[in-house]
Symmetry: C2
Subunit: 337 residues, 2 copies
């Protein structure tokens, strides 16, 4: 079993009010690089910050790392267009950081990265992989990509109040600035990602397509961005069993998720880590800063839903809160004065 985190950036995230995946807009660009380090080392190494939301909610990468420490699986980070240095080891697919989707051709590396990732996914010897993403602003690009494929599903948000009107304006701008019309990229996933998407979607969908083609079992760990990955894979004509493993916070936010998953022949699994102080994962422990998840902050990301699913299947969900608080304590011990 290998957990693969596709980490990258889109400058779309720099728009005010679009993402909670960083304490400030200036720090958003470091989040994927830092998440990669936290997954790999349980600590930041080169990244200058530990990612938190503007209100201080810890990055979901801490949860994924905690489950990794509990279960001991391999983790691999794939570069889906990182913009800042990371001390985590990464595999290159030739993806560059994505430009704002208001530009005409924001992800020129998408077709090449999709092809390279597909070849990589085919060559992986693992029997099972969990694939997740970390890219601030990624739900907006995911919504645009779904529409380019001719699909209309709502996407979630790392903010407790989903900025749906703002996201809709950005998506409309993306279609206006490119030659693509909604639905015109059906069965052409590379085009959807290139003209209105982001490099993480290109790499993740290529990787999943290749893995399925070589009969590797794939669990998508995440929310509506990984749903967009599933849609891209199906539009590439690739069949095979797919599971979307997400958190209860994400599933609560998107009631249409079950129908969306079913529409793409995707099995949906929802896990509640109990960060609200109840639920299976609670284990009777004070969740501390993790309680923000129960208030709708972050919700999902960095393969968190996939990691929680693995913990639940191993019967160790009730240890996740304590293990995550332990990871956070180590992360914080560096930052103090």
């Amino acid at each position: 079993m290998r957990l693969i985190l596709v980490a990258g950036t889109t400058r779309t995230a720099e728009r005010e009010g679009l993402s909670a995946a960083g304490a400030t807009r200036d720090l958003l660009c470091h989040t994927p690089s830092a998440d990669a380090e936290i997954l790999t080392y349980g600590d930041t190494v080169r990244a200058p910050v530990t990612p938190v939301s503007p209100t201080g909610c810890p990055t979901p990468a801490a949860v994924t790392r905690a489950v990794r420490e509990l279960l001991g699986f391999d983790a691999t980070v794939v570069d889906g267009g990182l913009a800042e240095p990371t001390g985590a080891p990464t595999v290159s697919m030739g993806a560059a950081p994505g430009r704002d989707i208001g530009e005409a051709d924001p992800v020129q590396t998408a077709p090449g990265a999709f092809a390279a990732a597909r070849q990589f996914g085919r060559a992986l010897p693992d029997e099972k992989v969990v694939v997740g993403e970390t890219i601030p602003g990624g739900t907006t690009t995911a919504q645009a990509v779904l529409r380019a494929l001719g699909e209309e599903w709502p996407t979630s948000s790392s903010l407790p109040e989903n900025p749906v009107e703002l996201k809709e304006r950005v998506v409309e701008e993306a279609f206006a600035s490119s030659d693509l019309e909604p639905g015109r990229a059906a069965h052409a996933p590379e085009l959807a990602v290139r003209f209105v998407g982001d490099p993480v979607l290109a790499v993740a969908s290529g990787l999943v397509a290749g893995a399925l083609e070589s009969e590797t079992e794939v669990i998508l760990g995440g929310g509506t961005q990984m749903l967009a990955v599933a849609a891209l894979v199906r539009h590439a004509g690739v069949v095979g069993p797919l599971t979307l493993a997400t958190t209860s916070y994400l599933a609560d936010d998107v009631p249409e998720l079950a129908a969306a998953a079913a529409a793409h022949d995707v099995n949906l699994v929802v896990t509640d880590p109990g960060f609200g102080g109840d639920g299976d994962g609670a284990g009777g422990v004070d969740p501390g800063p993790l309680s923000a998840y129960a208030d709708g902050v972050a919700k999902e990301g960095a393969a968190m839903g996939g990691a929680l699913h693995l913990a639940a299947r191993a019967g160790r969900l009730d240890e996740v809160t304590t293990a995550t608080l332990d990871v956070l304590a180590r992360l914080r011990s560096d930052d103090g004065p």
Copy 2:
């Protein structure tokens, strides 16, 4: 515990008769990229070949991978100047492939890579690391580097007959082509590596220096190249406990190794995997192609000695032969018609 493999290249390896770290001279350049993949995935992913010596002796990376499958430790590949694509995730230190040390300034990236690796080593949160190398031609550059530091110790070879005269000529050429004289780089490790060394030595010594400075326990897994790393670290003025964990094949080849280790305040540990059909590691199993190690081929590399030391300490040395044969069987199953 984390095993760190520094993987890179020097064009010095392209000289006829210098290295057994590839089936042919044309394939040598792929060996570090393939070793990185074998350590990470237990299989090649992007590399076009599984590394073997000209006589078919399997790469020591298969042994390190086998021990990793037995014990389950983390492994991280650091790019020490790779020349060919790898599907393994790698951390960049800004190292470029090394040029032939017959050129005037063959490793211009050495000072920068040494500094970046030192900072990375300091930031690593691990309590203990095992550091190894994979770079064909690396014993020749190691010998030149030791001489630049003012030290004269013999280096081993991946060939059963150490081409000492050829190596001596190449080392003399290296000093003739640069402004460096033997001993003039004492206490200036970056200069030794830059003018007569290779990028793997730069990265590995920086990494070990930084790790020791932040009180991480360091085990050097390898032979005389890792001895050169220890010398570079001491010449950088860095103290702290160092262990050199090597194979019995390497130790048999270099009787001076114990004295050389002691001269650098390095604890020497030698492990016999029993690939000759006897010894602690034998476990009564036919070693198959691994018996070439007992005939003096390869001997060490890709952190093999460090991995064997870990296996011995865990009381599982007698499982290593079978586990390695299992890795090799999986590697070979891809290559068939």
